[in-house]
Amino acid sequence: MSVLVYTENWNGAFKKSAFELASYAKATAALLNSSAIAVTVGKLADGELEKLANYGIEKMITIDEAAFSGFSAQAYGATVAKVAIAQNAEVVIFGNNPTGEAIAPRVAVRLDAGLATGAMQLPTNAPFTVRKRAYSGKAFADFVIESAVKVITLTQNSFKLIEQPVAISEENFDAEIPANAGAVKVTDLVKASEKLSVNDAEILVSAGRGLKGPENWGMIEEMADILGGTTCCSRPVSDLDWRPHSEHVGQTGKVVAPNLYIAVGISGAIQHLAGVNSSKVIVVINTDADAPFFEAADYGIVGDAFDVVPKLNEALKAFKANS
């Protein structure tokens, strides 16, 4: 038996999310007295294999990317399911991200497995139970998976990295392309900017309609730079095209769980909170002491962003210079 985890690589390199998934897979394997195996599509750069071994992965299954004509949920799903069967996997783990969302349900059907998406913590066994996000972050639910094989997607930033180096072996596996997979073809990919993505950032500086217009985002970007984080925004801000849609967080945008979420000029509507209330620490800066966001915040400043943010940036710069 094994626990299989799908770890995405980017031009052959892993991101932190892959190490989080590896740590989670290893811990799940420990719970079930089995071993953790990873699967990836595309050739890994030198040294990447060892990085995953550092988090307890004992075997890496590599699938040649050339066999696929771009990403296809159907072909990737069929292939990963075949790997799972070959490796006798009892649990298959994906990230709760666009790739996992596309593949995991297809793998679950192929393996006749129950699926729990958006896991927040390690499963417990007998019965196999996964705590997941529900009601768009307004609640959690314990999902009992009753099938022999279980499929889970893990919410990013919800499990800690656990270093525990092991020896790792590598195996190649042939892609499985269903006959009609050619009906969808990726014809173009506009690469995301090199900027740290909203999902990957541990510190998010977010701003809302309180900032009045896109020309005022310089100080928000500056704060994100000082803190080594990235920027995001409320929905009206992206609807108004003040900021790119990829920055929209909330119920209908990205769901995030950073270590620190700083909200400037955002009222804290329930749909906004739904996407951010799993953040570990929340700071709110708002002129209105009655803004609902203060109820969800750990720290707050009742004040004008145009006065507070520049001062805070100076203080953070001084702090960074001394630390």
Binding site: E8, W10, A73, Q74, N96, P98, T99, E101, A102, P105, R106, A108, V109, L115, A116, T117, G118, P127, R133, A134, Y135, A139, F140, D142, F143, V144, I145, E146, S147, P178, N180, A183, V184, K185, V186, L189, K191, A192, L227, Q251, T252, L260, I270, A274, N277, S278, V284, A296, A297, D298, Y299, G300, I301, V302, G303, D304, V308, L312, L316, S323
Partner: protein
């Protein structure tokens, strides 16, 4: 062309969430139910496509109890041509997907549209499951669709960037943000017409459940927010560093 749009019957986005029976059951008291926000975008865009292509028959489908009829009527009022309700409690994703796959097989549809995720259990799994059950390609989290009626061009946001995808029918897609700009609100005429449109109720097909929800939890109440005076910014930096260990 014929489209099947999967309509979830979900609590309004402003709902306060509560549970009963030792946190095992969702408390439906005072809850307003709506068409899921993503499938609302899906339906809106299908109606635009109908105008662009010239002919597109749109069937709204829900797997649910009789209480979901009102939500299906809302989909009809927005503009769906007819509706099907599979009469069952949609407790498990695989069960629900199996019902939708059965409805697909009972007709001749070119495209199945679901929402990116439901806003109750946030599964985000229906499109992939239905696709796999029917051996059809699926594209999830689609942010844009154009079509001439014989093929479609889709866009999808991934962590790697924005993919453009050429697709032929039949296909399953899930509608994400951007699929339509603003959801279409039903007007008086739509509401009047919806009353006369066909809503067929059919029995469920057999499918064992794979998952069960055993218990719910509400997020722990936060300790009161610590307020820092705007002229005492260094104190906030100190708290974030020493107390919260966030910087």
């Amino acid at each position: 062309m014929k489209a099947l749009i999967c309509i979830g019957h979900v609590p309004d986005t402003t709902s306060k969430i509560r549970f009963t029976d030792d946190n095992t059951q969702f408390d439906k008291t005072d809850i307003q139910y709506i068409v899921g926000p993503y499938e609302e975008l899906g339906l809106t865009r299908l109606l635009e496509l109908k105008a662009e292509i010239g002919s597109l028959h749109i069937t709204a489908v829900n797997v649910g109890l009789p209480e979901a009829d009102a939500t299906l009527r809302k989909a009809l009022a927005i503009g769906a041509d007819d509706a099907i309700r599979v009469d069952a409690d949609p407790k498990d994703a695989m069960f629900t997907a199996k019902q939708i796959a059965a409805v697909y097989k009972s007709g001749t549809y070119d495209i199945i549209v679901t929402g990116k995720e439901s806003i109750d259990y946030n599964g985000g799994q229906m499109a992939g499951m239905v696709g796999e059950l029917l051996d059809l390609p699926s594209v999830s989290g689609v942010s844009k669709i154009t079509s001439d009626g014989s093929k479609a061009t889709l866009e999808r946001e991934t962590d790697g960037g924005t993919e453009t995808i050429e697709a032929t029918f039949p296909i399953v897609i899930s509608a994400g943000k951007g699929f339509a700009i603003e959801p279409k609100i039903p007007n008086m005429r739509g509401i009047m017409q919806a009353r006369r449109k066909k809503l067929t109720v059919i029995p469920a097909v057999e499918q064992a459940e794979k998952t069960k929800t055993s218990k719910h939890y509400l997020p722990e109440a936060k300790a009161a927010c610590k307020l820092v005076a705007p002229d005492n910014i260094n104190e906030l930096v100190r708290l974030l560093h020493e107390e919260a260990k966030a910087i």
